[in-house]
Amino acid sequence: MAVLVVVSLLVKECYPLSPFPMYSNLANGAHYFYLTDGTDQPLALKPNFAVSGSDLKKKYHAYLNEVGREKGIEDAYTLGDAEQEEAGRRLFDELLVRAAKRDDWQESDTEEMKLIRVQIRRETGEIVQDRRTVLRQTIRPVTTP
């Protein structure tokens, strides 16, 4: 057990090893993402893209980290709007490939998609949420490879 604990703490995420960092830093704020069409109507993530709300956030941050690495910046949270948009574009590219195989998406007529970031914070006994659009993009037809 001791070996497993030490090795997992050292190698971090390396399936099946993990330090299991879920909720390991409970800050005063958190954020999440969702998608809307051009008219601000939310798009259901699972039927359209086979991802959950939690997956959407993780995937976005994986792309943001990727953009940060390409620019030689370690802390992705310091990246600006242009980099965030780039991460959003890469996320959309992946989601649209997944969507092309989903019946719900094929039957929809969405022409524009927005990625919305919601910042939640605790302020004097109540929860406050601020929204901002990270990316607004016209959807181009994507063919399944």
Binding site: L4, Y15, N25, L45, S52, K59
Partner: protein, 314 residues
């Protein structure tokens, strides 16, 4: 202090698991391994491995999400599990099942969204696999070293390898909880319990993430009331979550004996049910494996029946 030392020395021994217990555990682990393999509707949508993790850094695994290939892999997995349940050829069946479970989940976790629900299953399979192979690996290591003692290091305490395999499974399970507790303490610089009242922010986040998944509200009025209670009573939140942290930190006590395994297993299952109740976050495989290896209900049912049979009636 002396009494504590005596108490400490009495425990930490591999229980003498009966063959019926071992059979039930093999059936249970095979079932958990099967249901924890990724479902087709999600897995077959994976295109490549955009964010490789673990072994995917060195070996491309995207061929696994081809429908025909995955169909074959699943049948091999079922075959390995059936052989494992039979108790024969475990040294072949376990590596096959472990490898498939690890590869499939490595590809699944290489999509940019890391999930933590299946690691515990892979780790238990890996622990059992290594237990079965360790004597041979040790013997080989000694030969390579040119040692005279090439008889091989075997599991001691008069227990069979299957019994050791269950013991190391429980160690793997306890390790996941200890790791979760250590991560909390390391990342928060030791003040996790103090800042845990902020969990309500995470609860709101989880609620809305669940909502946008299907555009259906997952939070009922009672759940909203619970969120408001925690928002208004930060010390109550600290007490509840601090208790959970202590449970994770001392999960290793499950290894002391069968009774601590029972109590620890039930407490950790209660913790998961509590998290599910508060946050709609479920870790079913953790609960299943705790029920199987820590709580070990068949043993305790037999124990109660056996004791009742021997208590003299007045």
């Amino acid at each position: 202090m002396k009494r504590f030392r005596e108490w400490w020395r009495r425990g930490w021994k591999v229980p003498d698991y009966h063959w019926v217990e071992l059979l039930i555990m093999r059936i249970g682990l095979a079932a958990v391994a099967w249901i924890s393999l990724v479902g087709d509707s999600t897995f077959l949508l994976h295109e490549g491995q955009p964010h490789p993790q673990g072994i995917a850094h060195w070996i491309p695994l995207s061929w696994l999400s081809d429908a025909a290939t995955y169909g074959v892999v699943k049948w091999i997995f079922i075959g390995a599990l059936v052989v494992y349940v039979s108790g024969q050829l475990s040294r072949i069946a376990l590596p096959v099942a472990t490898l498939i479970h690890v590869l499939v989940h490595t590809l699944h976790n290489s999509q940019g969204a890391t999930h933590h629900h299946a690691q515990i299953v892979s780790l238990v399979l890996l622990a059992q696999c290594l237990t079965h192979w360790w004597p041979s690996l040790w013997s080989l290591f000694q030969r390579l070293k040119g040692s005279d003692r090439v008889s091989g290091w075997v599991w001691s305490q008069g227990r069979r390898v299957e019994q050791w395999a269950v013991w190391f499974s429980l160690q793997a399970i306890a390790a996941t909880y200890l790791l979760a507790a250590l991560s909390k303490l390391i990342k928060s610089k030791g003040i996790w319990a103090f800042q845990s009242h902020n969990i309500v922010v995470e609860m709101v986040k989880t609620h809305w993430q669940n909502f946008y998944s299907r555009l259906e509200h997952s939070t009922d009025p009672e759940a909203l009331a619970r969120m408001n209670f925690l928002l208004d009573n930060p010390n109550a939140a600290r007490l509840i979550l601090g208790g959970g942290l202590a449970l994770e930190l001392f999960a290793f006590l499950m290894l002391y004996n069968r009774a601590t395994a029972l109590v620890g297993g039930l407490l950790l299952i209660s913790m998961h049910l509590g998290i599910g109740f508060l946050m709609k976050l479920h870790f079913p495989h953790n609960e299943q494996l705790l029920l199987l290896f820590a709580v070990n209900l068949p043993f305790w049912l037999f124990f109660v029946w056996w004791r009742r049979d021997r208590v003299p009636s007045s």
